[in-house]
C-alpha cells in the first residue's frame, strides 16, 4: 500500500499548480464570462493580486476534504479558486495605506504600489465579487442546492460576521488591546473563518451527511487556530527574508497575541495539542485522512 503521507508536499504543489492554472484561465484574455468588457488595467491588478505564487493552502484543504468524502475534484478545484480569490482580495485591501500599509508581499510590490490605490480597491472588490461568479457558474458541476449552500457559507465566512469582521476587530485591537477572549474571537474570524469554510466545503461538494460537515468544520477550526498560532510565532521569531513580508510587526504595534500573552513554550505545547485534536477529529475516516492529518502538522510547523 502506498504511503499517502509521503506524497503530501507533492500533492500540495500539484494542487497549487492546478489552482494557479485555473485562475490564469478564468482571468485570462480568452474567457468571456457574460461581461461587457474587462478593462485591461483592472484585470492586470486582479491577476497581480491573485496569481502570486502562494501555497494555496485553502484550496488544498477544499480539494483534500472533498477527496476524503468522495466528491468531485473539478468542483473542488473551482471552489478552491473562488476561495483563493476571497483570500487574495483580503490581502490586497489589507495592504492598502489606510489599512496595514504594506509595500511588499511575497517579495513583490503590493497591488496599490504596482498599480495605484484606487485600482487596488477595485481589484479587491472585483476578486471578491468574482468568487461568487465562479461558484455559481454553469462550469461548476454541482447541483443548484450545493451551489446555494456554498455561496451562503462562503459569504458568511468572508463577511462582517466572519473574515471582514475579524479585520475590523484587528483594527480596533491596535487602539485598545483585547483580552484573551478578544484575541481568540478576532483570530477565529479573521483567519479562522475561511479555513473552516475550506474544510466544510468538502462535505458540501461531496454531498456528505451533516455529521461530516460538522466534523470537517471542527477540524478546520482546530487547524485555523494552529495556523494563527504558528503565524504569531513566526512574527516573533522569523526572518523577513524567509517569510517574504515584514515581521515583528505585531510587537512593534503593541498588538497582543496568544504568544505575547503566554510565551513561546506555551504556544509550542498548544500547537501540539491542537494538531492532536485535529487528528482525533479525523479518526473515523481512517488512513484515507492521512493527508489532512499531515496538513494539520504542516500548518503547525510551517516556517513561512
Amino acid at each position: 500500500m502506498k504511503d499517502e503521507r509521503s506524497s503530501f508536499p507533492a500533492r500540495l504543489k500539484t494542487n497549487a499548480v492546478a489552482v494557479e492554472a485555473l485562475l490564469e484561465t478564468l482571468l485570462g484574455p480568452a474567457v468571456g464570462t457574460g461581461e461587457i468588457a474587462r478593462p485591461a488595467n483592472l484585470l492586470g491588478a486582479m491577476r497581480h493580486g491573485v496569481l502570486n505564487g502562494g501555497k494555496r493552502l485553502r484550496p488544498f484543504l477544499v480539494a483534500e476534504s472533498t477527496a476524503l468524502l468522495g466528491g468531485d475534484a473539478e468542483a473542488a478545484l473551482r471552489t478552491g479558486a473562488a476561495l483563493e480569490c476571497i483570500h487574495c482580495y483580503s490581502l490586497v485591501h489589507d495592504d492598502l495605506p489606510a489599512m496595514d500599509d504594506d509595500d511588499m508581499r511575497r517579495g513583490k510590490p503590493t497591488v496599490h504600489v504596482a498599480f495605484d490605490e484606487a485600482t487596488a480597491i477595485l481589484a479587491g472588490d472585483s476578486l471578491l465579487t468574482f468568487a461568487f461568479d465562479i461558484v455559481a457558474a454553469p462550469e461548476t458541476a454541482l447541483s443548484d442546492r450545493q451551489k446555494t449552500t456554498l455561496v451562503l457559507a462562503l459569504a458568511r465566512a468572508a463577511g462582517h460576521g466572519g473574515m471582514a469582521g475579524g479585520q475590523a476587530l484587528d483594527l480596533a485591537a491596535e487602539k485598545s488591546a483585547p483580552d484573551e477572549a478578544g484575541i481568540v474571537l478576532l483570530q477565529s474570524m479573521k483567519t479562522g473563518a475561511l479555513i473552516r469554510f475550506a474544510c466544510e466545503a468538502g462535505a458540501i461538494i461531496a454531498d456528505a451527511p451533516a455529521e461530516d460537515r460538522r466534523r470537517l468544520r471542527a477540524f478546520g477550526d482546530k487547524i485555523g487556530l494552529a495556523f494563527q498560532l504558528a503565524d504569531d510565532l513566526l512574527d516573533l521569531t522569523a526572518d523577513a527574508a524567509i517569510v517574504g513580508k515584514a515581521t515583528g510587526k505585531d510587537a512593534a504595534r503593541g498588538k497582543g497575541t496568544l504568544v505575547s500573552l503566554h510565551g513561546q513554550p506555551w504556544a509550542e505545547r498548544r500547537l501540539e495539542s491542537l494538531v492532536a485534536e485535529a487528528e482525533g477529529l479525523l479518526e473515523p475516516y481512517g488512513p484515507r485522512s492521512a493527508i489532512l492529518a499531515e496538513t494539520a502538522r504542516f500548518i503547525a510547523n510551517r516556517r513561512n
Copy 2:
C-alpha cells in the same frame, strides 16, 4: 379601473420604506445569521452606508418587474435589498479619498469621514459580501436554481465585467478622455449593469420564459442609458443643494459625457427617444406595465 400611473410616487415610497425596514432588520442587533460576532463599529459603518434614505430605485425596479410577471413580492424585496447593498458599497468605496474623495453624500458625511478610511473599506467589502448572503439565505423563498441564477447574474453585473469594471474605466477616463463609444461602454458598465440586473431579476424571480428575461433586460438597458444621461444633465445644470452632492464635477475634471459631446438639446431629445424605446419594450404587457413606463419617465425627468 384604478389608474396605476397615479400611484407611482406612492409605490416608489412604499417600496423604499419596505427596503429600508428590511435592511434595518438584517443589519440590526437582533439578527444572528450564522456569524461568530458582528463588530459594532463595522456594523455601524455598514448601516451608515446603506441606511441613507435613498430613493431605492433599483429595488423598486426589482419589485415592479417581479410584480409585472407575477413573481413573489417578498423574494423581490430581499433581492432588492441585496442589490441595494451592492449599490451602496460602490458608493462607499467611490467616495474614498483614493477614488472620488467626497466628504458628503445625501447631506451626510460619507462613511470614511463619519468613521475612518479603513472602516469604510471594510464596510464596503462587507456590504458587497452580504448581498450574496441575503440572496442565498433560506429566508429568500426561491428555488435553489433561481438563487444560483440570481447570484451569477448579480456577480456579473457587479464585477470586473460590470460595475467595478466601469469604475475602472471611469478612473482611466480622468487621465485620457474616451471617445463616444468609450463613454457609452463606461456608462453601460458603471451605471447600466446594476439597472439591467434590477429589471432582469424580476423575470428570474417570477421564473418567466427567457423571452421575458431578455425583454426586461433590454428595458433595463434603455432606462440605464436614460439614467446616466439625466445624471450628466443634472451635473451640468443642477444646484448642489438639490442634488445633495457636489455638482459640476464632470466639467471641472474635464470628464467627457454625452452631454458635453452633443449638447443639452441633443441630450433632451435623446432622453425622450430612450423613454419611447423603453415603453415600446413594455408593449406586450399592456396596462399592467404602466408603473414601469412611469418609472422610465421618472428616471429621464428626475431633478435629483
